[in-house]
């Protein structure tokens, strides 16, 4: 897995590519989110477009990230769900939990409200 970090206005965008699965990649994402929360970042957008594979641990990391950011008063949203991630979130009833966008501009605007 690889995580690129961009900042647009007040939003930190994480461009994630590769696999988010049990083991290293899950831990890496967890640490990244923890660091952002620690440094006071409130608005986090995870770009999932290049995520090639997720397992139940990966889904678990998304849930943890959401909880972590929300509990510290921030917002975590998703961008560019792949068809497979969409399906996993749908069957686990998490699609209603996560705010997600197909368009980066719209996602960024949503944080301004």
């Amino acid at each position: 897995m690889n995580i690129g970090t961009r900042t647009v206005d007040t939003v930190t965008i994480l461009d994630i590519s590769g696999k988010i699965t049990i083991g290293e990649s899950s831990v890496e994402l967890r640490n990244k989110i923890r660091d952002l929360v620690k440094s006071g970042q409130k608005n986090i957008l995870l770009n999932m477009g290049d995520v090639s594979y997720m397992d139940s641990s990966g889904i678990g990391e998304l849930v943890s990230a959401y909880t972590n950011v929300t509990n510290s008063g921030g917002k975590l949203k998703l961008l560019h769900l792949t068809k497979k991630l969409h399906e996993l979130l749908a069957i686990t009833k998490l699609l209603t939990v996560f705010e997600s966008y197909e368009n980066e501009q719209q996602a960024l605007q949503s944080f301004r409200k």
Partner: protein, 148 residues
């Protein structure tokens, strides 16, 4: 193809090192059998989840214990057995990940995924101790009517 199953068996120590290999193997077998790419993906993921469970929950990462994976390849279906040397467990006692109080838990979705993507999932106690997880995926199951 003969009626006797073609069999691919893997026996490895309890380490995540082999999870990728087993999933690639699964992908190769299911594509060779003629499952479409999406179905192959979900079968592979189900097998991945079951192997991870066998390593962590079954064998508790004890490297002296093994995980056995057996692919039985039939003309009309794939049957996969995943064996561990753990203490077994009661599948009926597993919390429902869709229940409100579990929805935001960071774990507990592995077996749910297996049941979602495979046609049949059984947990069988092994005579020697441990669990045999037996999963079946039929080909063209959509054409054959309702999924059980």
């Amino acid at each position: 193809m003969s009626l006797r199953a073609n069999v691919v068996e893997v026996s490895v120590e309890s380490s995540l090192d082999y999870v990728e290999l087993i999933q690639t193997l699964s992908d190769n077998i299911t594509r060779m059998m003629g499952f479409d790419a999406d179905t192959s993906h979900w079968i592979g993921m189900s097998i991945r989840e079951s192997v991870v469970n066998a390593i962590y929950h079954g064998n508790k990462s004890d490297k002296s214990k093994r995980v056995g994976i057996k692919f039985e390849i039939y003309q009309d279906r794939l049957v996969v057995n995943v064996d561990d040397e753990g203490e077994g467990f009661d599948p009926g006692s597993i919390p429902d990940p869709l229940a409100g109080e579990n929805l935001m838990k960071p774990s507990g979705r592995g077996i749910f995924f297996m049941k979602s993507f495979m046609d049949q999932v059984e947990f069988l106690p092994r005579p020697a101790g441990g669990t045999r997880l037996r999963m079946t995926k039929r080909m063209h199951s959509i054409l054959e009517g309702e999924k059980k």
